[in-house]
């Protein structure tokens, strides 16, 4: 998943960025709303983490503008405002979830997963795919009852394919899921991860459309 983090506090922002990157998602971190607007115009994000009090304005206004434009990107509000009314305001403005600072990073990861799953239309974190038993919440995969260990990058790629079953994803789209703007992308990274995933999960798991991209194979 590609996530946009809008947070002006550098200490918290760095920790959140590292946490999300550790989960294998790619993160773009901006500290101002104008930068966030630019980022959203330039790339497709799967989720936005939005602080409410930013140096150049209120996050609620940003969220309302986003929703008014018809943008349905999932948004989780991260804020120091802890009142019930703030929470109701946030949810009414179109937020998908609301996390009051300070929060546990593990809870943030869980909420990101839960919101993302709801967007793919399957809130159930347990998915069966052929011989595979996938627990999205616990980030665990069992193949024929035996656990399979994936690296964070492999998991991110796997999740991207799983979130759009049957849909063709180009190499560029997959690269975007894996890396933020500032990361260097090696030319054959996707191919390397796809071949490792095939080795771990079975050869029929990922189908290749030559020159077009990859898609999740039929179970």
């Amino acid at each position: 998943m590609r996530i946009l983090l809008i947070e002006d506090d550098t200490v918290l922002g760095a920790a959140v960025r590292d946490q999300i990157a550790g989960d294998g998602q790619s993160v773009d971190w901006v500290t101002r709303l104008d930068a966030a607007g630019d980022a959203m115009a330039g790339a497709a994000y799967d989720l936005v983490l939005l602080d409410l009090m930013l140096p150049d304005g209120r996050g609620i206004g940003f969220l309302k503008t986003l929703r008014a434009r018809g943008d349905v990107t999932p948004v989780i509000i991260l804020t120091a405002l802890d009142q019930v009314s703030d929470r109701i305001d946030g949810l009414n403005a179109g937020a998908d979830d609301y996390l009051v600072k300070p929060f546990d990073l593990s809870e943030l990861s869980a909420r990101i997963g839960s919101v993302a799953r709801r967007y793919t239309g399957n809130p159930n974190p347990i998915i069966s795919h052929g011989a595979l038993e996938i627990d999205l919440a616990a980030r665990s995969i069992h193949r024929d009852g035996k656990p399979v260990a994936l690296t964070a990058r492999e998991w991110a790629l796997f999740e991207a394919l799983l979130s759009r079953p049957g849909q063709l994803l180009s190499k560029a789209q997959l690269e975007e899921k894996l890396y933020a703007f500032d990361s260097e992308v090696e030319s054959n990274t996707i191919e390397v991860h796809v071949s490792r995933l095939r080795k771990k999960l079975g050869p029929r798991f990922i189908e290749t459309e030559r020159g077009m991209g990859y898609r999740l194979g039929k179970p």
């Binding site: 946490q19 019930v84 009314s85 929060f103």
Partner: protein, 455 residues
């Protein structure tokens, strides 16, 4: 003499004394002037009488055949004789006298004019070169009684007028001071946290500056309190982001390091930071509970808030431990939803922290606005219950928790003028603890539907 403390009594006493003295002085002067005028009138009557009688007496005496004979005039008709007279010759022999004339009253003749004896006012007049002399006497007693009547006439109203004046002064003062008394009552009726200006109403202009000064003082006090409260709230709020950053970094450190000792230290840092977070959170809640408006001019459904809070608390650490019971109909209240959220959250967290892990925490909101949070656990002694709402007071030795939770709830309950009722054991059971607060609800909106539904 000490003046009485009451302005009313002071004015009554002062004006009463002043009025009495003035009246007496005015009456005395009037009486004195009247007395002088009266004397003039009486003297003139006396003189007139003598001068009218004398020619008659002269004619009578000259026409007599015998000299030196005393003639007493007979009574024509019985009457009181105010004026008595005698007519004498140069030798002092009495030639004529009125019928009640008492010789002892008349001193020897010593020329014409007015004379005064101890008992009478006299007027002498003579004719025929002083050979016939008349003296008319009027008893002073008569004049005295007239003067007394005048004095009585002047003095009697004093007995009626002065008490009446006093009464009207008392009433007037009372009526004039009524706005001041009402001002005082309004001031007295408010509770310790109400520092809004007291309406002066039709307070007298002499006292209005005092009321204005008082209101200015209240205003300054309110500003000071507000500043203090908003400082506490802002400080706690501003602490959240850096605390969040530090906690997140401590968590990252734990997941990134392979060194077990470093990981344990990071966990300790995280725990301390979290305790600090809870404390600052509670301080902010306390500042909020004690300041600001708790009742709004609009109503909201308390069930929504209760559900949000319980979901939130349950998600962060205690899934499945809270049993929330809400009525089917909305529970509309003008209570600030944030205040209700704080109240609810503190009661639930308190029950989770101190209750037994084996039984769920029961959170019930009734149709009539009663919030009841109950948990199982050992029975608390009555003196412990009493102490629980004190600040920084914890039940049991557990160091967890800020010790502010129930104090915050009590502060909110106090401000909505509804007591926080703590019971242990919980009603209908042998053990446990129950806290309940009656919240203000808008009955006009609360529907007539009854019944509870489990959520």
């Amino acid at each position: 003499m000490r003046w009485p403390a009451s302005l009313q009594a002071r004015l009554g006493l002062f004006l009463g004394i002043l009025l009495t003295v003035l009246w007496i002085a005015a009456a005395s002067v009037t009486a004195l002037i009247l007395r002088g005028e009266m004397d003039e009138v009486f003297d003139s009557a006396l003189q007139e009488t003598a001068q009218r009688l004398l020619p008659l007496a002269v004619v009578d005496i000259v026409g007599r055949e015998e000299d030196g004979l005393t003639q007493r005039l007979g009574v024509i008709r019985e009457h009181d004789e105010l004026f008595t007279y005698i007519v004498r010759d140069a030798e002092g022999r009495i030639l004529l006298q009125s019928h009640t004339a008492d010789m002892a009253v008349f001193p020897a003749y010593d020329g014409p004019g007015f004379r005064l004896t101890a008992t009478h006012r006299l007027y002498n007049e003579d004719a025929l070169q002083g050979t016939i002399r008349i003296t008319v006497a009027e008893p002073l007693e008569h004049r005295g009684s007239v003067a007394r009547e005048i004095r009585m006439g002047l003095g009697l109203p004093l007995l009626i007028v002065v008490p009446l004046a006093l009464l009207s002064i008392v009433f007037a003062v009372k009526a004039s001071l009524a706005p001041l008394r009402r001002f005082g009552e309004r001031l007295d009726a408010r509770n310790a946290r109400d520092l809004s200006p007291v309406p002066g109403g039709d307070i007298p202009s002499e006292i209005a500056p005092v009321a204005a000064t008082l209101n200015r003082l209240l205003d300054r006090l309110k500003a000071a309190f507000d500043a203090e409260r908003s400082f506490a709230a802002n400080a706690a709020h501003e602490l959240r982001t850096p605390l969040a950053g530090a906690i997140a970094q401590a968590q990252r450190l734990q997941s990134e390091t392979g060194d077990m000792a470093a990981r344990a230290r990071a966990a300790e840092i995280e725990a301390t930071l979290k305790r600090l977070t809870r404390l600052s959170e509670r301080l902010m809640q306390l500042a909020r509970a004690e300041g600001g408006q708790l009742r709004l001019d609009r109503c909201s459904d308390l069930r929504i808030v209760a559900r949000l809070v319980v979901e939130d608390v349950a998600r962060t650490g205690s899934p499945g431990r809270i049993l929330l019971t809400l009525p089917e109909a909305p529970v509309m209240s003008d209570l600030d939803p944030d205040a209700f959220g704080i109240l609810c959250r503190n009661l639930v967290e308190n029950a989770l922290r101190h209750g037994s892990d084996a039984a769920p925490v029961d959170v019930t909101l009734t149709r009539d606005g009663q919030l009841i949070v109950a948990n199982d656990g050992p029975v608390l002694r009555p003196e412990t219950l009493d102490r629980l709402t004190a600040r920084f007071e914890r039940a049991g030795a557990s160091g967890d928790g800020s010790g502010l939770g129930l104090a915050i709830v009590a502060a909110i309950a106090d401000r909505i003028e509804s007591p926080l009722v703590l019971r242990s054991p919980r009603p209908g059971a042998a053990s446990g603890f129950e806290a309940s607060v009656k919240l203000p609800i808008d009955d006009s909106i609360a529907s007539s539907r009854s019944g509870l539904s489990k959520h």
